[in-house]
C-alpha cells in the first residue's frame, strides 16, 4: 500500500466519520455516569446525521438530508430528553461498574470490534464507490454495542447500548442502502421512537418494582 493507495476524499471523510462513531461507542463503554452516557449517545447520533448529510451532498439527494434532519430531531433531541427524564425521576446518577472491570471490558470490546470489522469487511461489499471499510466499521460498532449491553448491569446503560446498536445499523444502511425509500427509513425512525417510549415505561416499572436501576439483583427467575 503505497502513497497511491489513498482513498478518495469522500471515502476518507466517510471512513473518518464512521470511526468517530465507533470511538463514541468505546467512550460509552468506558463512561460510568448515566448522564454522560446519554450525552455521548446524543453526540454519536449527531455524528451519524453528519454522515447522512455528507452522503447527501455527495449524491445530491435531498432525501438523505430530510433523513438527517429527522434523525437529529429524534435521536439527538427527543431520545436523550426522554432518557434523561427517566433517569432524573429514578434519582440515580452513577451506572455502576458493570460485571467486568473497565480494562477487561475495553479489551473484550476491542476484540469484538476487530471480529465484527473483519467478519463484515471480508464480504467486500461496496456502494457509491466507497470501500468496504465503512460497512466493516459499522459491524465493529454493532459488536461493541453488544458488549456494552452485555457487560453493563443497569437498565439505562443497556437501553443506551441498544440505541447505539441502532446507530450502528444506521451507519450501515446509510452506506449500502442509501437508496432505500424515505418512507421505510422514516418507519424505522418512528419504530425507534416507539421503542424508546416503551423502554422508558419499562425502566420506570423496573425502578418502581426493584427499587433501583440495577439489574444485578434480578436473579429470581432461573432454570
Amino acid at each position: 500500500m503505497g502513497p497511491d493507495g489513498a482513498p478518495s476524499v469522500l471515502n476518507g471523510t466517510v471512513d473518518t466519520i464512521a470511526v468517530v462513531v465507533l470511538l463514541a461507542e468505546f467512550a460509552m463503554l468506558r463512561s460510568t455516569l448515566l448522564r454522560s452516557q446519554i450525552r455521548l449517545y446524543a453526540a454519536q447520533s449527531f455524528v451519524v446525521a453528519v454522515l447522512a448529510a455528507v452522503l447527501a451532498f455527495a449524491d445530491n439527494s435531498y432525501e438523505l438530508l430530510i433523513l438527517a434532519a429527522l434523525s437529529i430531531g429524534l435521536k439527538v433531541i427527543a431520545v436523550p430528553v426522554v432518557m434523561s427524564r427517566t433517569v432524573r425521576r429514578a434519582g440515580a446518577d452513577v451506572a455502576g461498574a458493570g460485571s467486568l472491570r473497565a480494562a477487561s471490558s475495553a479489551l473484550i470490546a476491542l476484540v469484538a470490534a476487530g471480529f465484527g470489522f473483519f467478519a463484515v469487511g471480508r464480504l467486500g461489499l461496496q456502494a457509491h464507490g466507497l470501500s468496504p471499510t465503512v460497512l466493516a466499521v459499522a459491524g465493529a460498532i454493532i459488536m461493541v454495542a453488544f458488549v456494552l449491553m452485555t457487560v453493563r448491569t443497569d437498565v439505562v446503560s443497556q437501553s443506551v447500548g441498544f440505541f447505539s446498536l441502532e446507530n450502528g445499523v444506521s451507519v450501515a444502511s446509510l452506506v449500502v442502502a442509501a437508496g432505500m425509500p424515505l418512507i421505510l427509513e422514516v418507519a424505522f425512525l418512528f419504530d425507534l421512537l416507539v421503542a424508546v417510549v416503551v423502554f422508558g415505561v419499562l425502566i420506570r416499572v423496573h425502578h418502581a418494582e426493584q427499587g433501583s436501576l440495577s439489574t444485578s439483583d434480578i436473579t429470581a427467575l432461573r432454570g
Partner: protein, 485 residues
C-alpha cells in the same frame, strides 16, 4: 378479497384504541367482537388466497402468510374470550383498560406481520409486537414480571437489531438486481430468485436466523422466553407462545424463501438444523426439571419451535406442509394448555407443580381438557400434532439426515416423559396418594364458562386436524409448501 385484508388490518387497532377510553364492559365487548370477526375474516381469506396472492398497496396475502394469519387469529380470538373470564369485572379499571387495549394492539401487530408486503415492513411489524408484548408482560406490575419484561425487551430488541442489519444487507444485495432505490417488497425479492449475489445474502441469512430466531425462541438466544411466558397474564402467555413465536418463525421462513435459491438448500438446511436440534434437545431435557406449570409449557414451546426449524431444514414439500400444519396445531394446543394452566392456577392459587394435586376432582371440565391438550402436545393421536410431526419426520426421508429424525423422536419422547409426569402428578393423583400434606384443596367447580369455551374450541380444532383435516386446508398447505420450494 382486498377488502378483507384492509378490514383485518384495521379492526383490532381500532378496537385497541377504543378499549382505552370506553367503559370496561364496553371494552370487553369490543375486544370479543374484534377477536371473533378477525378469525372469521382470516378463514374467509383462504378462499381468495387459494386462487393466488391477494395484494393491496403494501399488504399481501399468499398461502404461506394465510397459514400464519389463521393461527394468529385463532389464538387472538380464544385469548380474548379467555380474558373476559380471566379478568373479573371487579378489578381495577386502569388494569382492565391496559389489558384489553394491550391484547387488541398486540393482536393487531401480529396480524399485520404476515400481511405486509416487504421485508422492512415485516421487521417494523415484529418490532412493534416486541414492544407491545413487553408492556403486556409487565402489566401485572410485580417484581418478577418487571424482571421478565426487561429481560425480554432487551434480548428481543438486540436480536431484532441484528435482524435489521440483515434486512439492510438483503437490500444491498437487491441493489445489484433492482438498482439503487427500490421497495424491498416480498414479490420483488422472491421474484429475484438466484440473481442475488451470494456474499451479502449469506451473511444476511445467518444474521436473520440469529436475529429473528431470538424471537422464535431458538437456543441459545431463548433465555427470555421461559421468564416472559411465565410471568405474563395467562391470555398474554397464550398469545406469546401460540402466535408470536409462529409469526417470528414466519419471518425466518420468508428469509429462507428468499435466500434458498441463492445459497442452496444444503447451507440453509444446515444452519436451521443446528439451531433446531439444539433447541429441541435443550428444551426437552429442561422440561424434565421444571417445577412451575407455566414455565413447563414455555419450554414445550421452545421444543416445538425446534421441531418447526428442523422441519424447515429438511426442505422437502412433505416436511414443509408438516411444518405449516404444526404451526396451526401448536397454536391451538399451546393456547389450550395455557388456558388450562391458568384455570388450574386460579383454582389452586399456586403455580408450583408439587402443590397441585387431584385436578380431575376439582375441575370437571378444565382438567380433562387440559389432560387431552398436554397429550396432544406430546404428539398423541388423534390430535393434530401427531399428523404434523409424522409429516415432518416422513419428510426427512428424502434428505440425507436420518440421524436428525432420530433426534426428533428422542427429543419428543423425553418431552413426553416430562409432560406426562407433570400431568399425572397434578391431575390424576390426589393429595393423599401423592403424600402431600399441606397442599391446597380447593372447592370443586369451574371458575368461569368464558375460560372453558376457548379450550373446547381448541380441542375441537385439534381433533379435526388430527382425524381429517378438510381438503381445502390441505390444499392450501400444499400450495404454501410449494411456494416455499
Amino acid at each position: 378479497m382486498a377488502a378483507l385484508l384492509i378490514i383485518i388490518v384495521i379492526v383490532p387497532l381500532v378496537a385497541g384504541c377504543l378499549a382505552f377510553v370506553v367503559p370496561t364492559r364496553l371494552a370487553r365487548l369490543i375486544t370479543f367482537v374484534s377477536g371473533l370477526s378477525c378469525l372469521a375474516l382470516a378463514v374467509a381469506l383462504g378462499v381468495g388466497v387459494h386462487v393466488g396472492p391477494v395484494t393491496f398497496g403494501f399488504l399481501r396475502a399468499d398461502a404461506l402468510s394465510w397459514v400464519f394469519l389463521v393461527a394468529t387469529a385463532f389464538v387472538y380470538a380464544t385469548a380474548v374470550t379467555y380474558a373476559i373470564g380471566y379478568q373479573s369485572p371487579a378489578s381495577a379499571t386502569s388494569y382492565q383498560h391496559r389489558l384489553f387495549a394491550g391484547l387488541n394492539i398486540f393482536g393487531w401487530a401480529m396480524l399485520c406481520a404476515p400481511l405486509v408486503n416487504g421485508l422492512a415492513l415485516l421487521w417494523v411489524a415484529i418490532e412493534v409486537t416486541t414492544v407491545v408484548s413487553a408492556l403486556l408482560v409487565a402489566v401485572d406490575r410485580t417484581p418478577r414480571a418487571s424482571e421478565a419484561a426487561w429481560k425480554y425487551v432487551i434480548i428481543a430488541s438486540a436480536g431484532l437489531g441484528i435482524a435489521l442489519f440483515a434486512t439492510i444487507l438483503v437490500y444491498q444485495a437487491g441493489t445489484q438486481v433492482f438498482g439503487e432505490s427500490y421497495d424491498l417488497t416480498l414479490t420483488q425479492m422472491i421474484g429475484a430468485g438466484s440473481h442475488l449475489p451470494v456474499a451479502p445474502i449469506r451473511l444476511a441469512f445467518l444474521l436473520a436466523v440469529l436475529g429473528f430466531g431470538t424471537k422464535v425462541g431458538l437456543v441459545p438466544v431463548h433465555t427470555w422466553l421461559p421468564d416472559a411466558h411465565t410471568e405474563a397474564p395467562t391470555p398474554v402467555s397464550a398469545m406469546l407462545s401460540g402466535s408470536l413465536l409462529a409469526v417470528s418463525a414466519y419471518a425466518v421462513l420468508r428469509y429462507v424463501q428468499i435466500c434458498r435459491p441463492v445459497l442452496g438448500a444444503e447451507f440453509t438446511g444446515a444452519v436451521l438444523m443446528i439451531f433446531g436440534v439444539i433447541s429441541l434437545l435443550v428444551a426437552a431435557f429442561s422440561i424434565m426439571l421444571q417445577r412451575d406449570l407455566k414455565r413447563l409449557l414455555a419450554y414445550s414451546s421452545i421444543e416445538h419451535m425446534g421441531i418447526v426449524c428442523l422441519g424447515i431444514s429438511f426442505g422437502t414439500p412433505l416436511a414443509l406442509a408438516g411444518v405449516l400444519l404444526h404451526v396451526l396445531a401448536h397454536a391451538a394446543a399451546k393456547g389450550n394448555a395455557f388456558y388450562g394452566a391458568g384455570v388450574v392456577m386460579h383454582a389452586y392459587g399456586t403455580k408450583d407443580i408439587d402443590r397441585i394435586h387431584g385436578g380431575l376432582d376439582v375441575l370437571p371440565w378444565t382438567a380433562p381438557l387440559f389432560v387431552c391438550t398436554i397429550f396432544a402436545l406430546c404428539g398423541m393421536p388423534p390430535f393434530g400434532m401427531v399428523r404434523s410431526e409424522f409429516m415432518i419426520i416422513a419428510g426427512s426421508v428424502g434428505s440425507t439426515t436420518r440421524i436428525v429424525a432420530i433426534v426428533v423422536l428422542l427429543g419428543s419422547t423425553v418431552a413426553f416423559l416430562g409432560l406426562a409426569r407433570v400431568v399425572t402428578r397434578t391431575m390424576f393423583l390426589t393429595a393423599s396418594v401423592a403424600g402431600a400434606v399441606d397442599a391446597p384443596s380447593p372447592r370443586r367447580g369451574e371458575p368461569s364458562a368464558w375460560m372453558v369455551a376457548p379450550m373446547l374450541a381448541g380441542l375441537a380444532v385439534l381433533v379435526v386436524l388430527g382425524l381429517h383435516p378438510p381438503a381445502a386446508l390441505t390444499d392450501l398447505l400444499s400450495q404454501a409448501a410449494g411456494e416455499l420450494m
